[in-house]
Amino acid sequence: MSEEPRIAVYVCHCGTNIAGVIDVERVTEYVSKIPGVVIARNYIYMCSDPGQELIEKDIKEYRINRVVVAACSPRMHEETFRRVLERSGLSPYLLEMVNIREHCSWVHSDKDKATLKAIKLIEMGIERAKRLEPLTRRRVEVLPSVLVIGAGIAGITAALDIADAGYRVYLVEKEPSIGGKMAKFDKTFPTLDCSPCILTPLMVRASQHPNITLLTYSEVIEVNGGIGKFHVKILKKPRYVDEEKCTGCGLCIEKCPGRAFSEFDEGLGKRKAIYIPFPQAVPKVPVIDPNHCLYFQKGICKVCKRICPANAINYDQKEKIIEIDVGAIIIATGYDYIDKEFLKDYGYGKYSNVITGLQLERLVDPRGPTHGHIIRPSDGKEPKRIAIILCVGSRDITAGVPYCCRIGCVAGVKHAWYIKSHMPKTDVYIIYQDMRTFGKGYEEFYRRIRDMGIILIRGKPGDIEELPDGSIRIQVYDQVLDEVLEIVVDLVVLEAAVVPSKGTEEIAKILKIPRGPDGFLLELHPKLYPVETAVDGVFIAGFCSGPKDIPDAVAQAGAAASKALALLSKKVIELEASVAVVDEDLCSGCGLCIAACPYGAIELVRKEKRYVAKVREEMCKGCGACSAACPAEAIKVKHWLDEQIIPAIIRGAR
């Protein structure tokens, strides 16, 4: 506090809302005599234009430096009066609002007592106003560009929305092609439209959009700065194929002698050492897998280099660091399935006729390793009996996955449809715990497929064993029949639990986004701010914040894009000035504030020979949990200091 407080107090009549109960003249007269108060007035509507002008005029005429407005709730008009102060050249934080309407005139009918209470409340407000500090909101320019991390259906949707609005988008994907998990599906529930048919046009549009810079086979490795201007370092892995020169003719792939299991086909099929993950991949540029390439392993071959008509093969390509600046970031890093180790309990990896739901998708896909035929992997024969097991790891505390995956039940039903529509005579069992078909059209879909003659068994499977002929025997306790059943099938499909992807974990560390107990990224608020994160300017879309089906992921991507666009269109933003600040001389580096902070906004930094707490202002929301925890009163939230609040409290007791 540099200057002596010169306070102006305004008592609003709010028509008769306040003046009908509270004697505003008496209040004004009383408070005008309080030391520090230069002028006290009352007016019929303080929030009206003449009311606001009154304040502006007084500020100039009486050199006012603190304003107390006794009117309605600050939740109603604090911003209005803060703007008045701003227009008059005062810091908006020099305003104190006293609520004499909702908290006084509206709840009390005894006029005398209500008037006394109003005076008391204003006295408290004056006490606080005297101690307010002129904070200034930091103004930050917002760069007109967005980084979207992860190019699955959520990332692509968000990128297109932003690019269509005319802003630059950097779409980063760690795999050689964009498309994500959805590219691996044959069909989507409950409409059963072909997954690539709805996804690939979006992929192509994203790659051709003039406002989108596509960075595939790339990973974000470092982010500095904050909202408005994030400085991002991206590592581009070497493809050993020049993206500019390559025409995507595919000659190199045809001639390549190297073989490996295809990641895209979930290990069911083979690919070459130089490969395009799948026919509709974007960009349609091959990548060399050095682990299976004869040149990289033994220094021989070079067939691809010799045959390439565009001279695009470059064995000397190195990792490249790309640096960009963006105004906002959208994370859409998706999910993975539970570790394959866990699936061993269900026979996966031990018995070749136990496959995952995603592998079934690859079998059914006409582009897949069997050209759309469902076979037993052990002998290639058509299975006559198939069991689909739901909740493999999901809702299983021992598996570390206490949550529902939200997609397994309907995916299982869809898989039953795949089988029934390909091979109507095949027996299909679904072993489930609860059939959760919550989405639009999902219950109807389930009923329709069930009526095709699916056998439903409610229970959890026990022993799963392979018989000598390769078929699988499953023991399951049927809760409905109260009996242990034993079924023998040719093929078992596991609907595996979902977990946050590796990329999600990594980006959470890089951007310091808090994660929930389930490991998924934490939204700023589960209901009010579902696409915002604790870090201002960073938004989330899709599975990375928790299980979602495609419609939800797309909807959330749209929401994240609109939030990012709202930020970008402001061009300049003001950061909240009421944030925590550390007095380094008092701080002992105990770390209690770090434990209290819900946003991970505080860190310990070295200062000479000791550690002190440091607040990352762009992450601080000003809640004050740290300051209440600090034993030394070393960390404080500006505008909500103990020395501003406690004198007001004491004044109220007098």
Binding site: S73, P74, R75, M76, N99, R101, E102, H103, C104, W106, V107, H108, S109, D110, K113, A114, L116, K117, I119, K120, L121, M124, H525, L528, S578, A596, P598, Y599, K621, G622, C623, G624, A625, S627, A628, A629, V637, W640, D642, I645, I646, A648, I649, I650, G652, A653, R654
Partner: protein, 143 residues
């Protein structure tokens, strides 16, 4: 100037308790005029010092009106406040403070009625209690 007794300080968090009190006003619910409401950004901001200073300076009771823990705008604030309050209340009551004098209530922005009810209840209970023994101890010290 005789302000009505018993004097109650309500420390309300911005997003729930304070908004709940606003709603009580909008609904024109009536409660005794002896409660003074002060705003803090979050339950997590409420430091033990605020409560102690309030009791020392002469309030007959202190009410913390904060979010239901799962609804906290700042995620952990209400939970932190609840834990801290439990310890403080234990200490104060061990020193002889009547437990009715300090109270924590979860009051959401939709629970104006609850806020009015709690203030009415506290007013009644504190009127019966009279002056706080701890305040008397303070008074004796200054003699």
């Amino acid at each position: 100037m005789k302000f009505p007794k018993p004097r109650i300080l309500v420390i309300a968090c911005n997003y729930c308790g304070y908004a709940g009190a606003d709603l009580a006003g909008t609904m024109r619910l009536q409660y005794p005029p002896n409660a003074l409401i002060i705003r803090v950004p979050c339950g997590g901001r409420i430091s033990p010092a605020m409560i102690l200073e309030a009791l020392r300076s002469g309030y007959d009771g202190v009410l913390l009106a904060i979010c239901h823990p799962q609804d906290c705008h700042f995620m952990k604030g209400s939970e932190l406040c609840t834990k801290r309050f439990a310890i403080l209340k234990y200490l104060l009551t061990s020193l002889g403070l009547e437990p009715q004098r300090v109270r924590l209530e979860y009051i959401s922005a939709a629970e104006g009625e609850k806020l009015a009810k709690v203030i009415r209840e506290m007013t009644e209970e504190l009127s019966k209690l009279g002056k706080s023994r701890l305040i008397l101890a303070e008074y004796i010290k200054t003699m």
